[in-house]
């Protein structure tokens, strides 16, 4: 579904990888290694050379707003411009999904109409995710989606991400939580020190199966968990 071809980001080797519909790949690397910059470049929020295409359409063939309706960058620190969370979602069908998703993330309905400034960091993070998924983007770029969440909220967030994958959307996940990557992702993109230790053959694309399991095993595990065929 997503094809990244020689994406050029300063300080990183050209990146090439594919993500299929229903797949989740993770980006791993130490802080400052460029994980967020990769996500922003794919969403076309920062200029970057190379080619990125989604379902056959290169990003420059589409107006940037249309591209970003399909390729959604979800920031680690969601920013707000209206007073309440609900006011950030204007289209009626999106509002419906937004409310459902906020509920599935364990947020009480009253929080949608509470002043944003009164909400906790974790509540804002989950509302930001619900807002980003409300209009059903095709590719979801998640930057530390559970960074500020407790165990229960993390589990609910991961359920929502799995649900997106089952709906044949694709996810690129940036996370510092190794166990979370193991639970969600089929493959990992390794950056910086992580890339060096992976002893990657020269010239190959930089995506590699994590040492813990091969991609096939991982897909099989996911499929078993959800009762679908890989």
């Amino acid at each position: 579904m997503l094809k990244v071809d020689r994406l050029a980001i300063a300080g990183l080797p050209p990146l090439s990888f594919d993500v299929a519909a229903g797949d989740c790949i993770a980006i791993e690397g130490p802080s400052g290694s460029g994980k967020t910059r990769i996500l922003r470049a794919i969403a076309d929020l920062d200029a970057a050379g190379g080619y990125v295409s989604l379902e056959g359409a290169e990003r420059t063939e589409l107006p940037a707003p249309v591209w970003r309706q399909r390729v959604r960058y979800v920031s680690a620190e969601p920013a707000w411009w209206a007073d309440t969370a609900r006011a950030h979602v204007t289209r009626a069908p999106d509002r419906h999904r937004f409310e459902r998703m906020a509920g599935s993330l364990g947020l009480a309905p009253g929080l949608l109409d509470a002043p944003i400034a009164r909400l906790s960091t974790g509540e804002r993070l989950r509302l930001g995710l619900a807002r980003a998924l409300a209009d059903e983007p095709r590719l979801i770029l998640l930057d530390e989606p559970t960074g500020a969440l407790d165990a229960t909220a993390t589990a609910l967030t991961e359920e929502l991400i799995r649900f997106q994958l089952l709906a044949r959307r694709a996810v690129i996940l940036v996370s510092h939580d190794r166990a979370q990557i193991d639970r969600l992702a089929q493959r990992s993109l390794l950056l910086g020190a992580a890339m060096a230790t992976a002893a990657q053959p020269a010239g190959a694309d930089v995506t590699r199966a994590p040492a813990a399991a091969t991609a096939d095993e991982r897909v099989a595990t996911l499929a078993r968990r959800w009762g679908t065929q890989p």
Partner: protein, 275 residues
């Protein structure tokens, strides 16, 4: 009442009033004596020079000289509009160009509309009508343009994360910056709206006062003042809109990205310096 020309002694007696300012400064140790003296001298030299230059231009009545003076006025005004800003949009040339083109366009449109359609002076470029009107239009557009650029830069910097969030959710650059642009436009248009509301009650506008002192019929002076305020309001709106939209265009690119590196703080340019 007829026109009473002022002599040198009249001006000297008027200048005597500045001793009050000097007295306050000395009495309260404000340390303003030097600044006050320089400001007073600048006022006398600048206004005197303008008087003589305008007199010369009126006597010559040449379109070339009129155009040259208008050009100098636009250059100086556009410099003034951007020089005291606390932020810069783009590099120095882009920032100045933005102010200059907005003021050039709106100043010319407003002035030409006024001298051709409203006053109908003969010939239309007659410096006696064109230059003072251009001056009044530029003076007010200057305030508006500098307010719109400064407010837009400040709010865009403050709301940067929210603007990027809207862009990431698929908003166009105009949608993402709409609130910042709206608040900048509102701030920039308020002074002229206020001065229209206050005209005649709180303040007697300078031009009308001058006409009345020069012996004109007060009703005629009021009609002129109404026309001038309308022209000023319209051209300010035009200039402010051009500068605001131009700034949004400079701060974003055609892939609807916010170029926040183009927002530069310009400290050391004192917004409160004595003019």
């Amino acid at each position: 009442m007829t026109y009473h020309p002022l002599g040198v002694f009249d001006l000297l007696f008027a200048g005597l009033l500045l001793c009050l300012n000097a007295g306050v400064s000395i009495g309260f140790r404000l340390g303003l004596e030097r600044t006050l003296l320089i400001a007073a001298l600048r006022m006398v030299v600048q206004l005197g020079a303008v008087g003589f230059i305008l007199k010369f231009a009126f006597e010559q009545g040449s379109p070339g000289l009129t155009a040259a003076l208008a050009g100098i006025m636009i250059l100086v005004a556009s410099w003034d509009a951007v020089a005291r800003s606390n932020h810069r949009i783009g590099d120095a040339w882009q920032h100045w160009g933005l102010g200059a083109s907005a003021m050039l366009f709106s100043g010319l449109v407003g002035t030409l509309y006024c001298v051709t359609l409203l006053i109908g002076s003969e010939p239309w470029w007659s410096p006696r009508a064109l230059l003072p009107i251009l001056g009044m239009v530029l003076g007010n557009t200057l305030t508006g343009v500098s307010l719109v650029l400064d407010t837009l830069a400040t709010t865009t910097r403050r709301e940067r994360a929210a603007i990027e969030a809207r862009l990431a959710l698929g908003a166009t650059r105009i949608e993402a910056l709409r609130e910042c642009l709206a608040s900048a436009l509102r701030t920039a248009l308020l002074p002229i709206v206020n001065s229209m509301a206050a005209a005649g009650i709180v303040s007697l506008p300078g031009m009308m006062t001058g006409q009345i002192l020069a012996g004109a019929d007060p009703v005629e002076a009021a009609k002129y003042q109404i026309m001038i305020l309308c022209v000023i309001a319209g051209t300010t709106a035009l200039g402010v809109l051009l500068a605001g939209i131009g700034a949004v265009w400079l701060l974003t690119d055609n892939r609807h990205r916010l170029l926040s590196e183009r927002l530069v703080s310009a400290p050391g340019q004192d917004a409160t310096s004595v003019r």
